[in-house]
Amino acid sequence: MTDEKIVELVRGGDKEKYSEIVERYEKKMFYYIKRMINQADEEVEDLVQEVLVAAYENLAGFDTKKKFSSWIYRIAHNKAIDYFKKKKTIIDVDIGENEEYWMNGGKLPEDIEIDRQEGEELRKAVNSLEIKYREVIWLYYFEDKNYDEISDILRIPTSNVGVLLFRAKEKLKKRYEKNK
């Protein structure tokens, strides 16, 4: 069943169906928010809960003709930005159980070869980017979002997504090669 179909059922009164949405997105939201705010797991889990609660509260405002994943990522983005603005400290965290996300980098640029040993350098390079670049790198290469979806999540023109990604790749390449 698609996310949009589940949303329609929840809006129709079947509240229990929302647990499927939570199950599908809690891990994704966890890794996404963790990349954004770079804080300890407990803080990230609190934010994940806030995101999923906010999504439920605003479910009536979601247009089921659009993609639910872009919409919930947008909520996560806003929550992470709010958190980041309140507490600007960045803590370097271990890869730990996030390792799979770094190793399965999806559509990473061809000129950055990734293997287990280089994962640490890549992680450092991504974490050192400004949040606007870090986010777009994460969404495109690790969350497999296309330009249109990233445009919906960040609420920026689709053309700007390409520009942002290009700049992010350039910065990432420089920092990654510097760290090697």
């Binding site: 509240k15 229990e16 647990s19 199950e23 809690e26 809960q49 509260e57 605003n58 009536a60 689709t158």
Partner: protein, 141 residues
């Protein structure tokens, strides 16, 4: 992670977390729409004042009078109207950008859309005033 699911569903079942009603979102959407149109209309009214001033003073011809003409232009320039027009244009562009999927449009396109709408509306108001003013006056008399 299972703890998050359990906690959220508990809150939902106990109604500690409630879904906002659909009318709330419709209200916001219509509010933005109405706000946008009110701002555009207001901006066009103030711009129409500027057009009226141009018709009255004819600044290009006034410059033929040299310094005197320039002083006339500067003294009679509707600073407040033009200032409000600029402010409303900016406000209109910001609201327009936040409506629906307009964030996908480039900044240039948003500005052109808002600016052209205001200018066309101001021109329409000017023509309307010229065309209908005599009739309105006659009716009042």
């Amino acid at each position: 992670m299972k703890k998050i699911n359990k906690e959220i569903m508990e809150k939902i079942r106990k109604d500690e977390v409630k879904m906002k009603p659909k009318w709330w979102f419709e209200g916001i959407r219509w509010g933005l729409e109405m706000g946008n149109w009110i701002i555009v209309l207001a901006a066009s009214v103030f711009l129409a004042v500027g057009i009226f001033w141009i018709e009255l003073i004819r600044p290009i011809k006034a410059l033929d009078y040299g310094r005197l003409g320039l002083e006339l232009i500067l003294e009679s320039l509707p600073h407040v109207s033009l200032g409000i027009t600029v402010f409303l244009l900016i406000a209109g562009a910001v609201i327009y950008k936040n409506k629906g999927e307009n964030y996908k449009k480039s900044v240039k396109r948003i500005w052109i859309t808002v600016f052209l709408t205001v200018v066309l509306a101001a021109i329409f108001l000017t023509i309307f005033r010229k065309v209908f003013e005599p009739e309105i006056l006659l009716r009042i008399i």
